[in-house]
Amino acid sequence: MAQHLDTLKEIASSFSAAYVKTPTKLKILDAFSVCALATAVLQFVYAKLVGTFPFNAFLAGFFCCVGTFVLTLSLRMKVAEHGGKPTAAKEFGGYALAMLTLFIAAVNYIG
């Protein structure tokens, strides 16, 4: 048990050490995706508590968050692959497009 814990510690420490090196942009994206995921989880819990009455609303909200998470993550990957600035903007264009569609779909479905 104990060594499990310190392996965990070690992992965490080395991870954070490695993570510090990642550029800010990626950090932001990570933060955004993480909070999106958190929102999704919250909604899930909420739905489990309150009951899934407006099921479509729940689905829309949930998928909206998960979608945001996914898209943000993919954008992060692209950016991480080639940290080159010029492509980043182009990538972001696609990202924005996708996000827009996502939002439209979600709002259309939410009620």
Partner: protein, 430 residues
Amino acid sequence: MARLAAALAAAMLLAGVALAAEQQKVLVLLDSPSLESSHSAFLAGLRSRGYALEVRPIDDKSLQLKSWDEWLYDKLVILGSSKALGGAIDAAQVVQFVDEGRDVLLAVDSDVSEELRSLAQDLGVDIDSRGNAVIDHFGYDSHVGAQDHAAVLADNFVKSAAVLPKALSTPVLFRGIGLSVAAESETAFLALAGSPTAYCGKPGAAMTDAKLAGPELGLVALVQMRNNARVAVAGSLHMFSDAAFQAEATARNDRVLGRASNEAFCTAISKWAFQEQGVLRASQLSHRVLAGAHPGAVKPERYRVNDDVEFSVVIQECADGGCKPYTAEDVQVELVMLDPYIRTSLKHDGQGRFATQVKVPDVYGVFKWVLEYRRLGYSFIELTETVPIRPFKHNEYERFIVQAYPYYASCASMMAGFLAVGAFFLYTKA
């Protein structure tokens, strides 16, 4: 179907108007010319009620009921006996006459011809076999029926205000043949039935078991066809005669009961048969949405589920040429799709307008308002109106449910986050 019902109502309305305005033609067929004098009172009664009588012998060669495709007469009275129908008339044509909504009064006596019996049978009344007579060894009239007990005093009247508006105090003097109607018949009923001791058999001959006896033994039967045409079948000619109208009813032990109520009774049944009594007219069937998709829409093309709707119809009772609002508590309407989803009784406001308010079920489909009202002696009312019920449209569902606010919020937050991140992402150099 609804259209048909409406048309029917309209037709009846017209008939009523006509009754007041120009005279209706009645063909009276007599078995023998002598009947015209012996039954003058009855015929006079008809004339006085505004009918144009055309009296002809039943076996007249030139008789004609319809020429080309139109009927020459509105009503038909047959005071018949042994003779066959003459001229162009036969049982089939009379049946057709009835099927096309016209009324017949048929009176026969003991030596009735087979043709008339079959006619009666086609109309739903079975006349006992020829030669039989109604006999009552206890309830005979001691004046006219003393020797053969075949002139009976019958007071087993039908309990229906539609046929007999006011109860008759004295019995009816009846000499003739017995009738019967099928038990499960929806159309025919007995207006005058035999007393418990009456039976139908050969006068003078001893009889151990009579097929027709007691209350099943009919003396006068009334038939209301599904198209509301009416037929009265009486087993006796004598009961319509002046003599009978004048007769004093005297029971077995010479107890005088007073004037026999033949006249009143015969007038009543003839009135009933000729649509002057117990006629119900439904009109102005309407239904409207009170609360729902299109509030206030009258006779909308379709409802939406859970609409509040009002169904209303005007029913009038017509008697003696005039119509007055009908009042009854037992008029019901159903909302049917395969099975009735709603069955409720209509409330009336003394003016004959029957209405009810219901919430249509939460089921979509093609529904029908069905109003079926059949009461003894009254003309049938069958109204149906088809109204589909549609589900919610995609934009009619409830919006902004409180429970769902978190979800809305999450979406909004995502958008905000997206904008923020986007802005940052694009405008930071790093």
